[in-house]
């Protein structure tokens, strides 16, 4: 245990209210499901500055409390639901939740986000994070209403999907809308589908690394927070409002965020298609079928094809999350969450489905069953290709499943969620299913050797994300989107097919994403200059938080997560794309661009720049020193410095 372990906080005297920096509730909520014990733990202002919240806080708790033998399904695994210092403040999009745990896909660290109102509700109840351990003797839900925190019998909720669960809990408590934030698992989580997600507030999903399977293993069906009544003070409230206004101005006007402001992630479909980044039919092509007019897939068209309305997260002014109604066909009248770009790809293009109405319907089915839409896309596309080429037979599956068949895909989803028939194998995710079948089946599957699912792109034309996904320690990518890169001294533009430049960029922006994911904010509403975000954080807390500190903080978090993974036996040997994932596109805009040829070099450059040892994957002693992580030295290098 390191000398700076958060466990030290147990002994910390109950901090006086005035000592807690603004923006913080000042307490963590601890829950032991095995014993039913619930307690609150204050944390110190020093730790707040060091670990901020979200993934920063979660990484430290995970490192301190989850040992190498505590696998993802072990009761001692921690499920950390953390928000951060901006949650509940009027900065746009600050209802944020970061889930940190040892996840089922990689059996390593996880950092995955969702929004809605969770973070705000939690903060107004007086907590910055919930740390859950143990395994309930029978299914429970966690109920939080200011100081009343209880584990409640959840057996009557079993089998309900995530939306039904929220409906039922809302009805039980007589609270609707954002007066209650509910994050839950559906059947897929209950049945330990390895890529199960945690879904909340009708359409927000912490989807990565099987965090829903961890929750299922703990027999925790739902976390249900009544919006608390406590006051949240900021050190400089006017300053927070001013920083929020500046961020909003940037989001509305800056070219890197403006279309996101106006249409959410919808414009990405055609935007990425033009670059060969839209994944089509399990990476077998990058060209739309001749009968599809890409103009029909422009953002405004996608939205206006539905009766829709805004459904934004806490204090968010982006025109991003919407809720809509299926306008025609078999499911006419059903309420669905407007798909994200990731939905249009995972529930659509990746499986050859180019009917927006069908995609919108399937996408919400996926959220309701609660699996990761990216992994579902890779898995379902792989099954469809298998039926077409023969490595999976109709008889094995029990029905026919052709490209683009959304109804069939929903049937597959049911099989998987309940682990029925072939669904039992498929519930392990495409990597494990493909490795089991081997041969052509294995060659066709999209995954990372580490086990993390790539996001919903064709990364063969987006090399930065392939490198990030393969090297990250979070069960997804961790360095993030290259926006405002000149702020951290990087060139404004690079050649996306020059491995060297790509690796420099991924290493150079490192830190930003973990910082964003520690604030209780959304990666879309933080798509502004870091300087603005730091200003909001400084106004909230009263610190003088600089851009340098934010980057250093993010890199420190990344190093802690990496140390955790190394201790779990996950190292550089699995930092590789699967054969199909790392292949060369045979048509479309990125035709012939072969990342495989530059991969080794890219890793060399990346390792040099991030200051990790190429062979062992460990952060080098001088890197640890620079990041203020001397306490990790002994664990990583075996001797005291």
């Amino acid at each position: 245990m390191s000398p700076t372990a958060l466990t030290r906080m147990k002994a910390a005297p109950h901090a006086h209210a005035e000592e807690i920096p603004g923006g913080y509730a000042g307490k963590l909520l601890r829950v032991n499901l095995t014993t039913g014990k619930i307690w609150s733990q204050p944390w110190t202002p020093d730790d707040m500055r060091l670990y901020v919240g979200g993934v920063g806080l979660g990484a430290k708790i995970l490192y301190d409390e989850v040992g190498p033998r505590v696998n993802w399904d072990h009761p001692d695994n921690r499920l950390i639901l953390a928000t951060g210092p901006l949650a509940g403040l009027p900065v746009w999009g600050t209802g944020g939740l970061t889930v940190v745990t040892r996840g089922a896909m990689t059996n390593g660290a996880t950092s995955t986000q969702a929004n809605g109102f969770f973070g705000a509700c939690l903060k107004f109840s007086g907590y910055d994070a919930i740390v859950i351990q143990g395994r309930a003797p029978r299914w429970v839900s966690l109920y939080i209403n200011d100081d009343a925190v209880e584990l409640r019998d959840a057996r009557h909720l079993l089998g309900k999907d995530t939306w039904e669960t929220q409906d039922a809990l809302s009805a039980e408590h007589g609270l609707s809308g954002h007066r209650l934030s509910v994050y839950s698992i559906g059947p897929a989580g209950e049945n330990l589908v390895r890529f199960a997600a945690i879904q909340g507030d009708y359409g927000h999903v912490a989807s990565k690394n099987g965090c829903g399977a961890v929750m299922g293993k703990k027999r925790l069906k739902a976390v249900c927070i009544v919006r608390g009544t406590r006051a949240l003070a900021a050190a400089d409230s006017r300053g927070v409002i001013q920083a929020a206004d500046d961020i909003a101005h940037d989001l509305k006007t800056d070219p890197s965020a403006r279309s996101l402001y106006e249409w959410g992630t919808l414009p990405a479909v055609t935007g990425l298609y033009k670059m060969g980044v839209l994944p089509i039919k399990n990476y077998t092509t990058n060209l739309a079928p001749p009968d599809v007019n890409m103009a029909d897939w422009e953002g405004p068209k996608l939205r206006q094809g539905f009766d829709h309305r805004g459904h934004q997260c806490s204090a968010c002014g982006m025109h991003h999350c919407h809720i809509q109604v299926i306008p025609k066909g078999k499911h006419k009248g059903e309420l669905v969450d407007e798909p994200e770009y990731e939905g249009w790809s995972g529930a659509g293009w990746a499986i050859g489905c180019t009917d927006p109405v069908a995609v919108a319907w399937l996408n919400t089915r996926i959220d309701r069953a609660c699996v990761d839409v990216n992994e579902f896309g890779w898995l379902c596309g792989w099954v469809m290709e298998g039926i077409e080429t023969g490595y999976i037979t109709r008889a094995q599956l029990g029905f026919d499943l052709r490209w683009g068949d959304a109804e069939g895909a929903a049937r597959l989803l049911q099989l998987i969620s309940h682990r029925k028939g072939l669904g039992d194998l498929l519930a392990e995710g495409v990597k494990r299913a493909a490795e089991k079948l081997g041969g052509a089946a294995q060659d066709a599957a999209i995954y990372t050797l580490k086990g993390a699912s790539p996001r919903g792109h064709d990364h063969r034309a987006r090399w930065d994300e392939m490198l990030d996904t393969c090297t990250a320690s979070t069960g997804t990518l961790e360095s993030g989107i290259p926006v405002h890169v000149t702020e951290v001294g990087l060139p404004p533009r690079i050649n996306p097919f020059n491995g060297e430049e790509v690796a420099q960029q991924v290493a150079g922006i490192r830190g930003r994403r973990h910082f964003e994911d520690s604030l209780g904010a959304c990666i879309f509403t933080t798509r502004t200059r870091l300087e603005n975000i730091c200003r909001a954080l400084s106004a909230a807390t009263g610190w003088h938080y600089t851009v340098d500190e934010s980057v250093r903080f993010g890199r420190r978090t990344a190093a802690i997560l990496r140390a955790f993974n190394l201790r779990c036996g996950i190292g550089p040997e699995v930092e590789h794309p699967s054969k199909r994932y790392g292949s060369t596109p045979t048509d479309g805009p990125a035709k012939g661009q072969a990342i495989g040829q530059q991969w080794g070099k890219m890793l060399d450059t990346w390792y040099t720049l991030v200051g990790y040892d190429r062979k062992t994957g460990r952060p080098k002693p001088e890197t640890l020193k620079k990041l203020g992580l001397d306490w990790l030295h002994k664990d990583l290098w075996g001797k005291k410095r």
Binding site: G88, L89, P90, W92, F117, A120, F124, S170, S176, G177, H178, R179, Y202, R227, G228, T229, R230, A231, L232, A233, A234, S237, I241, A248, R309, G310, H311, Q312, C313, S314, A315, C316, G317, I323, L335
Partner: protein, 157 residues
């Protein structure tokens, strides 16, 4: 005279107005103490903000036995803390339920139009709350008539 008007179809339920209002009312962010409240309807799909409309005939003001409710220069009915005895009569008298009782201060509290610069309207990202001139003191009735006519014409239920 300027009044706060709401355009419910623009509201997304982000609750930013509640944060801003609670800050004006208490100096901290605490939606439980906001005097603008956003209510969900049609299940969880639609939201509408609502606060005191500063009605021409202020029933809260008429009901108050100690005359603690006065009209501010901005035209808002406001509770004078020094005079309020916390009897809650005003909260019963208000037909819209937009005057509240604070258990901590033991006083009634309500929208004071932020002294003429409403923070909720400023905070709303979608302009679902606007602060505008109105020609008639009974603008709420006009609003209701206009809205019903529009909805009926558009065939909405």
């Amino acid at each position: 005279m300027k009044v706060l008007k709401i355009v419910p179809e623009k509201c997304t339920g982000c609750l930013r107005c509640e944060l801003a209002c609670s800050y004006m009312q208490t100096g901290a962010f605490q939606p439980a103490k906001s005097v603008i409240r956003v209510s969900p309807y049609e299940g969880h799909t639609s939201y509408a903000p609502y606060t005191c409309t500063q009605c021409a005939e202020g029933w809260c003001m008429t009901a108050c036995p100690v005359g603690a409710i006065t009209i501010t220069p901005a035209g808002a009915k406001d509770v004078v803390d020094d005079r309020c005895v916390g009897c809650k009569l005003c909260t019963i008298a208000c037909p819209y339920g937009t005057i509240f009782y604070d258990h901590d201060t033991r006083k009634a509290f309500k929208c004071d139009l932020c002294g003429g610069a409403p923070a909720c309207a400023e905070a709303c990202p979608t302009a679902a709350i606007v602060y505008e001139e109105t020609t008639t003191a009974d603008w709420l009735a006009d609003f209701a008539v206009e809205r019903s006519a529009r909805l009926l014409a558009s065939g909405a239920r």
